[in-house]
Symmetry: C2
Subunit: 560 residues, 2 copies
């Protein structure tokens, strides 16, 4: 079954569940009228269905590969990227002064979701470029902004993020790449970076690498890191790609999935770079890029959940097999009539809905923060980001797994397409900060305020008329109070469970809100509550066990 | 880190957790002395470590493929199979009169586990052959037994199971393959079968296909199905492989994993077959084969859980990254010291232990039934089989997923090996009856006795001194009582959750039993109880929701 862009579902969630009308009511986003939103989602949706979705199998079967040091991308990807660029989808939320549309992040996420459902390995390219535009808008000099941002928005050039090194993964502060001043305002950047998504391609005029490296006087750890723009070709006086910079793609990774996305090992050998932001403040700049990229990756999980769910529903509505206990003798029912298949499909649907609402709720908070400068919105957005990232990607993995299961034996056969969803989405729980790192961020940094941000999120839900949800909110409040009273190791021990519980409580809240606006959604909301609330309670119990229990099992017993 | 056969762990679980001593105390299995068990597990373990484990990446990278209609197996697989055959591991539990060792199924499962950890795609071949031996022992004529069983035990010939057709998957009764009497006691078998694991290979003298087909007077549905032995080469008067039979491999599937195992589409064009068992009683014969194969597939899940867990532990003990809140400033700790990584590793370990105990507990029941003829043991084994199959395979998938996560970015790179475990194990939740089918079997057929079998299993646990477990057992008893009072659709709606809850309650029981014998296991048992019991409660809540909730969501809403 071909992918169908869920345009009306996206509008419903924006309008009825996450209060997008508040965003549209601000001066900054006054252009985001219902008509504009409709036009944008419809047009983007059509491109995703017609242009991007057909590329998805080709990206998987014909991976990007290195040919004499040059990356060759998958068949059709150049055309697909051109369609994305021409549609203006790269710079939807970028500054109109540089050619962007200045639209809310919530709409960018809605379009990103559809692009990711259609072809995740290609969508990763715009996601990286969008993050780079954002970082440059926030931190780069006017000259760098004027030179790079318009070309990134137009799609002439693409952007990458270079953080990781073999010894510096989650611990970015351990990086060894160095930058030496050249004396002319530029820097010579040297080092090796790994896991560089879309580190090169054969359809962009230039590749713009944002690279974390240490200046000669940079301190050890994260405090001594600076950010540099290191283009593949050094722009000439007219801003056109000039001579090749001293960098190259060493190799591409052979990955479980996302074969269409070239993941590069990059080598910088005194490559010419320009400082972005203040010296030694590279991590702050990187975090600007990363925070929204985290939400963007959560949306990637959602993308695959939606696509895998559609794919499984299509199969379950076609495939006839067996009969149900009260079904007709003639074996006429589809497998969707079987209780357990129906249960799987409904849970795919319920989780996908919750992941979408969570991502867009988070995006609305970020938009409101931008539009109003209100710190409460900023705090809310920051609090929801790790939850949206983790729950979105966990949901993508779970739904893709259920999608395989719904297909039965066919699910294990690659031609069916169900398995590719699982292979592609698996990395989303790892990159842009593993889901474990997200959970540590949630119970560490995001509870530094004594729980104020968490309580503010819960306050909005507590008014629910649903007793079971209200009880769960109350339990989650108590758990939050407990968390802020613990030392960091105990918090970390329960961090993933705490995040999981929070996501489920929010998920039920969104479902009930949807049912309030639309009676037809009440049965799915009841189904969702009947599953997510018991799961939330179990996660809350697990969240409280503390670190002592983990270290009571010795390394010797673990290694035995 | 190379795979290490968990010989002492297997012995511990056999001796201290599942009461293997009772099996060894029977006349039938008197040879299974502690010394014999030790020698067998040690010798099989060495073969798995030294001969089979090195084949695992080759099977993945160089899939079995079809060359001019002939299957070419992965490099080294012929030698690997020869080692398995020479070790006697094919016929461990087979009748000594035909060259088998006559040992308990529990030991076969222990050896199968190790072979599966080392190289799952190759191990699937012995598993199929073992199932065939069992079916022939139980149902075939003395002539067929005498001709085939010795050669299957010696590994000269291999066996397959042919059930599925494109329109007949979980619903075997929908099959269309036909068998016409040839008038000489043989039958002409015609039809297409799919998903035939190890449907052909290039190292066996013959391939013996057990094929389900309908005789001319066979009724519709499962009641009219008969079982036939259809060898690739028709044995000559001396029992040697003679002329080619009218069958061929149409194609091999391109699968998510298990690349080393050729999964064939088989075409039978009036192929000569011999009836196995009574006419129209093929399903009963197939069930003999399938029930133990189900346990065998549960063990395959366990195999991958063990291998993926070892692999992740090895990485977590080597990889240094970041520091823990109370760790040294010099960043000297491994990632195993991080609370959340430790949580993942412990849960991999706890689940793997539970899956092993469950599989061996089930095997002990089957052995006791065989040795004593006692119906209670038979009923216990039948009840535990679907739980062992589902929990073992779900655990394999979950642990392989966690293994990827522990590896961080490396987990997504194929060369690491973590991803292969997930790809290989994914099908175990599907084949030999999907886990949904297992759950339907549990709440349907296995609760037909009004819950007697379930209560008998719970009775043994209820004596625990652990309050939380005793409460969970009591809840599960009430849930079982509720289940037997519902109609089948309501049972099916909660079937997977009921099975999941049962597995977790059993899992905690096994952990506590282990801790009683060995103090060093108490911390892991506490960790396991602190996670599995809340999960069991959540599953029990979900199990009770009934089918009404599922059908309240209309097909239109699902397809929207």
């Amino acid at each position: 079954m071909p992918y169908r862009a869920p345009v009306s579902e996206l509008k419903f969630v924006l309008d009825k569940v996450v209060g997008f009308d508040r965003v549209a009511a601000t001066d900054r986003f006054a252009e985001a009228t219902p008509e504009t939103v409709d036009a944008i989602l419809t047009e983007a949706g059509r491109m995703c269905e017609e242009v991007l979705a057909p590329l998805n199998p080709a990206g998987d079967l014909h991976p990007a590969h290195l040919e004499n040091g040059v990356v060759r991308t998958s068949p059709g990807f150049a055309e697909g990227f051109a369609a994305i660029a021409e549609g203006g989808w790269l710079g939807m939320s970028a500054d109109p002064d540089y050619g962007g549309m200045g639209l809310p992040i919530a709409l960018t996420m809605a379009v990103n979701e559809m692009m990711g459902s259609a072809c995740l390995s290609l969508q990763l390219n715009p996601l990286m470029t969008q993050g780079q535009i954002e970082a440059l808008e926030a931190h780069a000099s006017p000259e760098i902004q004027a030179l790079y941002i318009p070309k990134l928005i137009s799609g002439e050039w693409c952007g990458t993020m270079n953080l990781t090194e073999p010894q510096a993964g989650s611990d970015v502060g351990a990086l060894r790449s160095r930058a030496e001043p050249n004396g002319d305002g530029t820097y010579a950047v040297t080092g090796q970076k790994i896991y560089i998504s879309w580190g090169d391609n054969d359809f962009s005029g230039n590749i713009c690498h944002l690279v974390l490296a240490r200046l000669p006087d940079g301190a050890e750890g994260t405090k001594g890191i600076s950010l540099f723009m290191v283009p593949k070709r050094i722009p000439d006086a007219d801003g056109n790609p000039g001579v090749a910079n001293a960098l190259n793609v060493v190799s591409l990774e052979h990955k479980l999935g996302l074969h269409g996305s070239p993941t590069a090992v990059m080598q910088y050998d005194g490559a010419t770079g320009w400082l972005v932001g203040e010296p030694h403040k590279g991590m702050a700049a990187m975090f600007t890029m990363m925070n929204n990229a985290r939400l963007g990756v959560g949306v990637q999980g959602l993308s695959i959940a939606e696509a895998a769910m559609q794919h499984a529903v299509g199969y379950a509505l076609e495939r006839r097999q067996g009969r149900t206990p009260d079904g007709p003798e003639d074996n006429g029912g589809t497998i969707l009539q079987h209780a357990d298949v129906r249960r799987m499909v409904l849970s795919m649907k319920a989780d996908t809905f919750a992941a979408r609402a969570l991502a867009l709720d988070c995006a609305v908070a970020l938009d409101m923060a931008k539009a109003t400068g209100d710190a409460d919105w900023q705090v809310r957005g920051a609090f929801l980001t790790p939850i949206a990232k983790s729950f979105g990607t966990d949901t993508g993995i779970k739904v893709a797994g259920d999608g395989i299961q719904v297909h039965g034996g066919m699910g294990f056969i690659e031609e069916t397409g169900a398995a590719q969803y699982l292979r592609d989405v698996r990395v989303t729980a790892i990159y842009e900060g593993t889901n474990g790192i997200q959970a540590m961020d949630l119970v560490g940094r995001k509870l530094m305020d004594g729980g104020a941000a968490a309580f503010a999120v819960l306050d909005r839900i507590e008014t629910t008329k649903n007793d079971a949800l209200r009880d769960a909110v109350s339990d989650l409040r108590k758990l939050t109070e407990w968390m802020v009273g613990q030392d960091m190791q105990d918090r970390f021990a329960g961090s993933v469970s705490y995040l999981n519980a929070f996501a489920r409580v929010l998920g039920v809240h969104y479902h009930l809100k949807a049912a309030e606006s639309d009676d037809a959604r009440a049965p799915l909301a009841r189904f969702a509550a009947g599953r997510m609330l018991p799961e939330a309670l179990a996660e809350m119990a697990k969240a409280r066990t503390g670190a002592g229990e983990l270290y009571a099992v010795s390394n010797e017993v673990i290694a035995a």
